[in-house]
Symmetry: C2
């Protein structure tokens, strides 16, 4: 049992109209940051710890210093820009995200959370407002995982999910380690990575899905992250000539795969809402027009907010496979290749975000994140919450990724208000 | 309307026990021929007009000359080994097949029909039996089509389906033409390709399917070849993140493809028997585990013995696609890439084969060939029939291809009896 103690706002002037971030400044910073590693198609390629990533980090550090922050870098290359509070013995209120991108990434994924944190600092500077606890804007190393596996290794080591040694030993496809690359770009810091008390961690992020846009909501109050299970399924039949083998004598691996995928869809529909089933990758062998497929390998991606439901979905899938195996005389194997439990964000933190969103008069809905974030790792060691804003068409990890300036500003206003409330409040006793 | 006049056997001694082929000699010839281009896994690689094909042709010609046949080669490289009859003004009774193979072909596909023809000649020699009409054992050029497209071009030009110029201009992937390669291997003959009267053409062949084996029948009396239609289907949806896009907001191209393939199976089942539906090739884009498929391209192979049913199957498929397009909000296109009408072999010829099969006391069934053969082309200019024998597991175009010596002998006995009957009879007036 945990005792709930919600952060209480100093009812000072934080609800006056001047406590608003500067949307135009935030937008311009995002656009300036997007120039670093800009692609021809309007996206960004800033793989972790490459030269463009260094340039982005340098730019962030420069802007933070101009905003009177104190910069520290830890041994995983995570950057902390600290704005002192009134009582600096208090654990900091952290916010931030990351600056690395997918190979053909967009301008907002990651960068938004970092720039929103900086905009909060700038706004507080403009207001000449000092929070009780210090604030730290963080850039986590290698969130995307496009260059180094696993994804989110910077926040993972911070939260103790991996050791520092494991983190620094991650290699890219050419065999270069994070250790070497941090040194090369000048971000092998000295600060210890783990063991830091954190008052709370908040992350603003684009939704990367279509729900907010579809429902015309400005803010997604994220209350957790879906659990995920990945499977590899292999269906083995018999390869015979398409023109000479009657249906009843066939053992067609693709027909088996198709039956499983239909069942998977039914399973997905059965456990709505918060149930996601996808077959994203599928390979047919020998993959020839007039040859009955002998083998089909495909992936299954199951997501749900409840472990018990994930278990039920997995059982249903395995039952369906068993039935189809017998009916079609196929050999079917299923192997689990990833299993991540659902994450629940801190209830009090989520409610504080919701309350500030309501006070700002913004439309919102609770939402589950369907994809992992640094905040998932940080939730192991600190109270956490996330703020989603809509992105165009739900498109992300894509050069076409886009978000509206008004939504970007709105999410940052929610972040500002919640940060002040948390940094000035009594903190959570969880 | 055509007048039916069945070939009538001279009721001489052709039904005595001595009118049997030598199964052991036939098997040994097949095994000797299989050494030419033999692969390590027990198959054969003898692509058309390569050096192994030349060696196989040379061996055939040598054996035929030893059997007192007169060899001619036409300008398409088709080889004719003629055993004179009593009345050489009569059009010849032809039999044969081809000696080229798939890259990883078997020992029987094609070679069986050629060696069976030679064995008939050898048997008649042993019996010192002279047929009324001459007999010609034929080797057609490039049946498989593995090296030169289209398949069956040797018999196609013979039957006037393509011009000689078209035939000789076919190129392999390296740009070498049939014309050049025939010259290179010494099989650019002088005989005119088309315009030859043929009393009838018979072809013995392994089934290349599992039906005879499954039903324990020794002989397949082939009464025709299924019509075939090939389509390319493209399903276009929207590529979004697998973890963030709820089912109702998805336009998953793979789910669309899966629905179509299920419908296609239903269509196949609805029009049994002689109905074959296959999706052999399928490609998913971007084909990534956690990305909803944006595009799926796949092939459809429809076969049936009746044009009207092929039309109905095509209509049903298009209706299903229309429905799925609307339901799942996908863009789906379907394009016909091949359309071959069903072939019916000459009824009288088929019945003569059946009667000789029955007289030999062999089990049999009528069967449709699901795949094209030289006989399809020849049926445009002559009465035709085919004799199938079982092959192990229905496997063909594969190094594992296998057939039983007893079945091989039985099929050749049917060929011997039918050839004598036809070569001695009055011929068909069609």
């Amino acid at each position: 049992m945990r005792t709930m103690l919600r952060a209480e706002p100093k009812m000072a002037d934080m609800y006056s109209e001047k406590f608003r971030i500067d949307g135009k400044r935030l937008w311009n910073s995002l656009m300036d940051m997007a120039k670093v590693g800009a692609t021809k198609k309007g996206g960004v390629c800033r793989l972790a710890l490459t030269d463009p990533d260094r340039q982005a980090r340098d730019l962030f550090v420069k802007w933070c210093r101009e905003a009177h922050c104190h910069i520290t870098v830890d041994r995983m290359g995570n950057i902390f820009a600290r704005r002192p509070g009134i009582d600096n013995s208090r654990p900091p209120l952290m916010t931030g995200s990351y600056l690395d991108t997918q190979p053909t990434g967009g301008r907002f994924d990651g960068a938004y959370g970092v720039m929103a944190g900086l905009e909060v600092v700038r706004t507080l500077n403009d207001l000449n407002y000092k929070t009780l606890a210090p604030i730290e804007v963080v850039v986590w190393t290698n969130e995307e995982g496009s260059r180094f596996t696993p994804w989110g290794i910077g926040s993972a080591v911070f939260a103790g999910a991996y050791t520092l040694k494991e983190g620094l030993s991650c290699k890219d496809v050419e065999g270069r380690t994070i250790r070497e690359e941090l040194k090369r770009i000048g971000y092998a810091g000295r600060r210890a990575v783990s063991g830091h008390p954190v008052a709370a961690f908040l992350e603003a992020h684009i939704e990367q899905g279509p729900i907010l846009e579809k429902e015309s909501k400005t803010i997604g109050v994220v209350n957790g992250v879906l659990g995920l299970r990945w499977y590899d399924v292999s269906v083995i039949g018999r390869s015979l000539h398409a023109g000479t083998t009657p249906a009843k004598l066939r053992r067609d691996a693709l027909v088996g795969a198709v039956r499983i995928i239909m069942e998977l869809n039914n399973i997905g529909n059965m456990y709505q809402p918060n149930s996601f089933t996808t077959v994203g990758e599928l390979h047919v062998y020998p993959n020839s027009r007039n040859v009955i497929p002998e083998k089909v390998n495909f992936t299954v991606d199951l997501r749900h907010s409840e472990i018990a439901v994930l278990d039920a979905m997995e059982n249903d899938l395995k039952d369906a496979i068993k039935k189809i195996t017998e009916e079609l005389k196929l050999k079917i194997t299923i192997k689990t290749v990833a299993d991540m439990s659902p994450t629940s964000f801190t209830k009090e933190c989520v409610e504080d975000i919701r309350e500030e969103t309501e006070r700002l008069g913004l439309s919102y809905r609770y939402i589950k994140s369907g994809t992992g974030h640094d905040t998932c790792y940080i939730s192991r060691v600190a109270p956490t919450g996330m703020i989603f804003i809509p992105c165009k068409g739900g498109i992300s990890h894509n050069e076409k990724e886009s978000a509206k300036p008004d939504d970007i500003a709105a999410g940052c206003d929610v972040l500002l208000r919640t940060i002040i409330r948390l940094a000035d409040g009594k903190g959570y006793v969880l």
